[in-house]
């Protein structure tokens, strides 16, 4: 190894086009900036749906700009980026108990992980690299060759 670098996802804003509905993002995937779709892809990989359009308007605010609809559930979760971390709007779920919050928190961690992986895959391919993906423990390992 001749060089190493550590980077953390500081803000999900670059990964998402907040003014474009996610359904439209999916159909226009080839026409928009690839990184715009990364968070939507990550949510899909988790079986969640990312809402960024009028459907989420009642939940969305400047404080919690992202809304995730969880699979098989009737509720959504508002998200914000705080101190470089994706933070859910816990107050909404205070009646659901700590177990549910723990599950949501775990899912959000995976979302961050998937968002980072999706970004790297897109950038590597755009850079003419081939990329392989595997899981090593709880880590996603991407091997890029070019």
């Amino acid at each position: 190894m001749s060089h190493w670098e550590k980077v953390a996802v500081k803000d999900l804003t670059p990964f998402i086009a907040t003014s474009v509905p996610v359904t439209l993002l999916k159909s226009m995937a080839s026409k928009v900036n690839p990184t715009d779709c990364a968070l939507g892809d990550a949510a899909k990989a988790l079986g969640c749906e990312l809402l960024v359009n009028a459907e989420a308007r009642s939940y969305r605010s400047e404080t919690f700009p992202y809304v995730i609809r969880l699979p098989g559930e009737s509720y959504d979760v508002g998200l914000k980026v705080e101190d470089g971390k994706l933070t859910p709007y816990w107050d909404t779920y205070s009646h659901l108990g700590k177990n549910v919050i723990a599950v949501l928190g775990d899912g959000l961690k995976k979302l961050m992980q998937e968002a980072a992986a999706a970004h790297i895959v897109r950038q590597a391919k755009a850079n003419g690299q081939t990329i392989e993906r595997r899981m090593v423990g709880k880590k996603i390992v991407l091997v890029s060759r070019g």
Partner: protein
């Protein structure tokens, strides 16, 4: 030697990238190009191998 970059992505979205097989600054440039726009780099550096290669190159030129 084949060019290879390994990205390890933790559950918190932190990425650790390591390059091998690249010469000179190309390894650093390639990593930065792929991670561009993702977030700020929290740490980076070169392994002893990187400096050894530069030393060898300079010796040859002399």
């Amino acid at each position: 030697m084949s060019k290879e970059i390994i990205f390890e992505i933790g559950e918190d979205g932190e990425v650790e990238a390591k390059a091998s097989g690249y010469t000179g600054d190309l390894c650093e440039k390639t990593i930065k190009a792929i991670l561009k726009g993702m977030g700020k780099s929290t740490a980076s550096g070169h392994t002893p191998e990187y400096y050894q290669r530069i030393a060898v190159k300079r010796t040859v030129r002399q």
